[in-house]
């Protein structure tokens, strides 16, 4: 059966290659599907026509064009491909081996670094990370105060430019964090006093002030105001779109107290911010809602920020943020090896009370909105990019197999590192 499917896909790919080599746009038709467009009503027994990488038509009464490759999705469910809102895909192969990791640069201030310079499009983690339905991901740099500039990429492509949805998706500021208390019996870490955190925030403000001054001087010099242009500074240059609010900035922040400080910071500095983490967001959910700042939820393989928050705080946090009306999205977090767990986090939140529909949105249209690509991704609508997942059941259920992925209009090869090992070693004769 698997072989048949493989041959079938291979035929599609061959047909696609043939058509595109002839300079024509490959057409793909998905039939007999239960379609969950996310925006709009669910369609039973529907069809999706894909052409030129875009969704051409969606509906019940569609017929497959004669030249289109066809995927029969009888009994299957089609969703917009999931979007992973924070990952290191393509920047880390084996986390303990420095030669294979490229997401953390030396130094604290690196706002000019771009992950698109370093992504390995053939990392095994793209192949294993998408088996549960992820079709695009924010690839983020990490470390220091200003780690650099992320890219929003598709989970498939021969080269980075082919994968890129948004080459410069967001900048980052790692907000100073009040440390977590350490468990009983260990050295008890004293909580940093608020003024320590505030002092660190002041340092960031100072840095931004310097950048602003640099940009103003440069502008003044260019306008012939008689000032000498400052020496070129790549770091301040990179902060220009952050300071004028055109490049969103992801601010990592955990504790309630820090979140309040971060809201004030973001508002004072007039940044277009996205929060990441917000482990104690549930304590200040209304304030986050009021600020209009969306929140990227980190991996839910995590304990409460403080024991007093309750054992279920990470899940409850998601529920409370959604209830308050905060725009939330899920992410697989720091390890690309755990990339396939993206829908797992959503399911965990649903188990603890997040409405399922909200969870699906937080994997699709919400991240598309947060990253400013809702005109292209996040729902199944004519005119949008054809990034789709076709699953045998509920894609939030980690027992469900995602049968096909359409990325950028192509039904991609689902083979991956795990399958390679599995196929080989299940073939060893038993004794």
């Amino acid at each position: 059966m698997r072989k048949l499917a493989a041959i079938f896909i291979a035929t599609i790919l061959a047909a696609a290659a043939l058509l595109s080599s002839q300079g024509e746009q490959a057409r793909l038709f998905i039939k007999n599907a239960t379609i969950i467009p996310v925006l709009g009503e669910r369609i039973e027994g529907g069809g999706i026509l894909v052409e030129g990488g875009k969704i051409k038509a969606v509906g019940k009464a569609l017929e497959a064009p004669a030249d289109a490759a066809v995927i029969d999705a009888s009994g299957m469910f089609v969703y917009p491909g999931f979007i992973d809102s924070y990952s290191h895909f393509g920047l880390a192969e084996i986390s303990s081996i420095p030669a294979t990791t490229d997401y953390r640069e030396i130094g604290k201030e690196n706002p000019e670094l771009r992950v698109v310079w370093a992504i390995n499009p053939h990392s095994v983690h793209f192949g294993t990370g998408r088996v549960t339905g992820t079709t695009s991901a924010l690839v983020a740099p990490a470390g220091g105060t200003f780690p650099g500039i992320s890219a929003l990429v598709r989970m498939d492509g021969w080269t980075v430019p082919e994968m890129v949805v948004k080459e410069a998706a967001t900048s980052f500021i790692n907000f100073p964090m009040t440390p977590r208390p350490v468990g009983e019996g260990l050295t008890v870490q004293k909580e940093a006093k608020e003024d320590v955190t505030s002092k660190l925030v002041e340092k960031i403000r100072d840095y931004l002030k310097e950048a602003r001054r640099y940009l103003e001087l440069k502008k003044a010099a260019a306008a012939g105001a008689g000032v000498v242009a400052p020496e070129y500074n790549a770091k301040y240059e990179a902060l220009a779109p952050v300071l004028d609010g055109t490049l969103p900035v992801i601010v990592s922040v955990e504790k309630a107290k820090d979140i309040e400080l971060a809201i004030k910071f973001v508002q004072d500095e007039k940044l277009k911010a996205i929060f990441r983490g917000c482990a104690q967001g549930f304590k200040v959910a209304d304030k986050i809602k009021q600020s209009g700042i969306p929140v990227i939820i980190d991996s839910l393989y995590t304990g409460p920020s403080e024991p007093e928050d309750g054992y279920d705080a990470p899940y409850r946090n998601v529920v409370e943020l959604a209830r308050a009306g905060v725009l939330i999205s899920f992410s697989s977090g720091d390890s690309p090896a755990a990339g396939k767990d993206l829908p797992y986090h959503a399911a965990k939140a649903v188990a603890f009370g997040l409405p399922r529909e909200e969870a699906v949105k937080a994997l699709t249209i919400n991240p598309a909105r947060i990253f400013g690509v809702a005109d292209r991704l996040g729902s199944i609508e004519a005119g949008k990019d054809a990034d789709l997942l076709i699953a045998a059941g509920d894609p939030l259920d980690f027992r469900t197999e995602v049968k096909h992925l359409v990325i950028n209009g192509r039904a991609i090869d689902m083979a991956n590192w795990w399958e390679t090992l599995y196929e080989k070693f299940k073939g060893r004769p038993e004794k």
């Binding site: 192969e93 084996i94 986390s95 303990s96 081996i97 983690h125 468990g183 009983e184 019996g185 260990l186 393989y301 995590t302 304990g303 024991p307 309750g310 054992y311 279920d312 390890s335 690309p336 090896a337 755990a338 396939k340 767990d341 797992y344 399911a347 965990k348 649903v350 188990a351 603890f352 939030l396 259920d397 980690f398 027992r399 469900t400 197999e401 590192w417 795990w418 399958e419 090992l421 599995y422 070693f425 299940k426 060893r428 038993e430 004794k431």
Partner: protein
């Protein structure tokens, strides 16, 4: 004399009670009724009941009547399974679990550092975990002794110990004892290769054999001296060496060996070594490449306590797949899904569900990987791991089937006592919150509070 009489009296009374099938008044009886009882040992019973007396399960079936005075817990269709057992954990221990100063440390014992206040014991309960094997770290080819604990949250260190469970010896192969992934840990230390790791164990076995021989000779001479009527001077005993005593306990099979290993070839090597010295090798910890040598693992009779899908963090954890647990189980290897991590521990039931998707484990097999299989690895399968009369009343109750992605653990019972009850927990939280609200004094305009 009086004491002896009294003791005999009590013993006789207990015997009479036991034989008559009546329960001592102190034994609390609990009936969990109307649930979906996943027995693991047999079929799942829809609309099933579990009768618990004291610390034990006494009856499992349908339509059981509540004895007089029994507490009744209405499961209302919820799912009850045997308490989850985590075969590989480091929680409930005070501080660091790695002995960095020496290469081989069989003399150290986790029982000396049990920390009953570790909040992770409570978190374990919230994920349906009732027993664990907590162990020494993996910095040493032969590390310290480990022990099975029950998650009796709130009890003393001594009371956490799973009575009767065999003591274990933690071994470690590969990158950790090689210190491949450590920098700034001081000067390089032997061994730096897998060859050196194995040799360091083999070498120690020979030393321990010599040590045992020395003692045997001493015993022989001492015996001869005792019966010589003063003709032979009694010999001086050899110096007691707790380190080598630890190794000797490995050689005698008193300690069950739990060997941290990733690569298939080093597992094969260590199996040869253990066979040669007659060591009781029970389980490979992690064993992420175990799927490559299922024939050999089955033949030897060694289990694996593995991750479902934690991988890729180091070279030796790279050549694996989430299908591995299922593939091993299908081919007859005794597989437990373990956590090695306080956080992953409370997601174990989800991990087992993933093995259904990857590699196609049956739901029954997936559940065994959480219960009876780790119980066997820990040597406590006569006590826990299934829901059967005579077994300890260690249970986890979920609002949905435990392999359902939306399942939440609602009740966890150890020895017939409820240690975690989500409904009560939420109630308490609400109460505390309401009280806190009441305590906030009203703010008056302009004034200090």
């Amino acid at each position: 004399m009086k004491l002896k009489t009294a003791a005999f009296g009590i013993f006789a009374a207990l015997l009479v009670i036991a034989l008559s099938g009546r329960l001592p008044a102190a034994e609390k009886t609990v009936l969990l009724k109307n649930g979906q009882v996943i027995t693991v040992s047999g079929e799942t019973i829809a609309g099933g009941d579990i009768l618990v007396s004291g610390t034990k399960i006494v009856k499992v079936g349908k339509g059981l009547a509540a004895p007089a005075g029994a507490e009744v817990i209405d499961l209302a269709g919820r799912w009850a399974m045997p308490g989850i057992i985590d075969a590989h954990s480091h929680i409930g221990l005070e501080g660091d679990v790695n002995e960095m100063g020496a290469l081989l440390t069989p003399e150290v014992d986790c029982r000396d550092v049990i920390n009953p206040k570790d909040i992770n014991i409570f978190y374990a309960l919230t994920g349906g975990v009732t027993s664990i094997h907590t162990m020494h770290g993996s910095a040493n080819p032969i590390g310290g002794k480990g022990i099975a604990l029950k998650m009796r949250w709130g009890k003393s260190a001594a009371e956490l110990v799973f009575e009767g469970a065999p003591l274990t010896s933690k071994w470690a192969l590969g990158e950790n004892p090689k210190r491949s992934n450590m920098s700034g840990m001081g000067p390089a230390r032997y061994p730096r290769t897998r060859m050196g790791v194995e040799e360091s164990i083999r070498d120690e076995f020979e030393k321990a054999k010599d040590y045992l021989k020395e003692w045997a000779e001493y015993e022989k001479k001492a015996r001869a001296a005792r019966y010589s009527k003063g003709k032979i001077t009694p010999p001086l005993p050899p110096k007691k060496d707790y380190h080598l005593e630890g190794v000797a306990d490995i050689l005698s099979g008193k300690l069950w060996v739990r060997c941290h290993a990733y690569q298939s070839e080093e597992m094969l090597s260590i199996m040869r070594l253990c066979r040669e010295y007659g060591v009781k090798l029970v389980c490979f910890e992690h064993g992420l490449e175990g799927y490559r040598i299922t024939n050999e693992l089955v033949q030897y009779g060694v289990a694996i306590a593995t991750f479902e899908d934690f991988w890729g963090y180091k070279w030796e954890a790279y050549n694996t797949m989430p299908q591995a647990a299922s593939l091993c189980a299908k081919r007859g290897v005794l597989v437990a899904i373990a956590s090695d991590d306080a956080e992953r521990m409370r997601h174990l039931f989800n991990d087992a569900a993933k093995s259904v998707r990857f590699g196609g484990a049956t739901e029954a097999e997936a559940l065994r990987m959480l219960t009876i299989n780790p119980a066997k690895i820990l040597g406590v399968d006569s006590r826990v791991g299934t829901i059967e009369p005579g077994k300890d009343a260690d249970l986890a109750v979920f609002n949905r089937h435990p392999l359902d992605p939306f399942a939440v653990c609602e009740i966890t019972m150890v020895d017939g006592a409820v240690y975690f009850d989500r409904a009560k927990y939420l109630e308490e939280r609400k109460k505390t919150k309401d009280e806190a609200k009441k305590k906030v004094p009203e703010k008056k305009d302009g004034g200090e509070v």
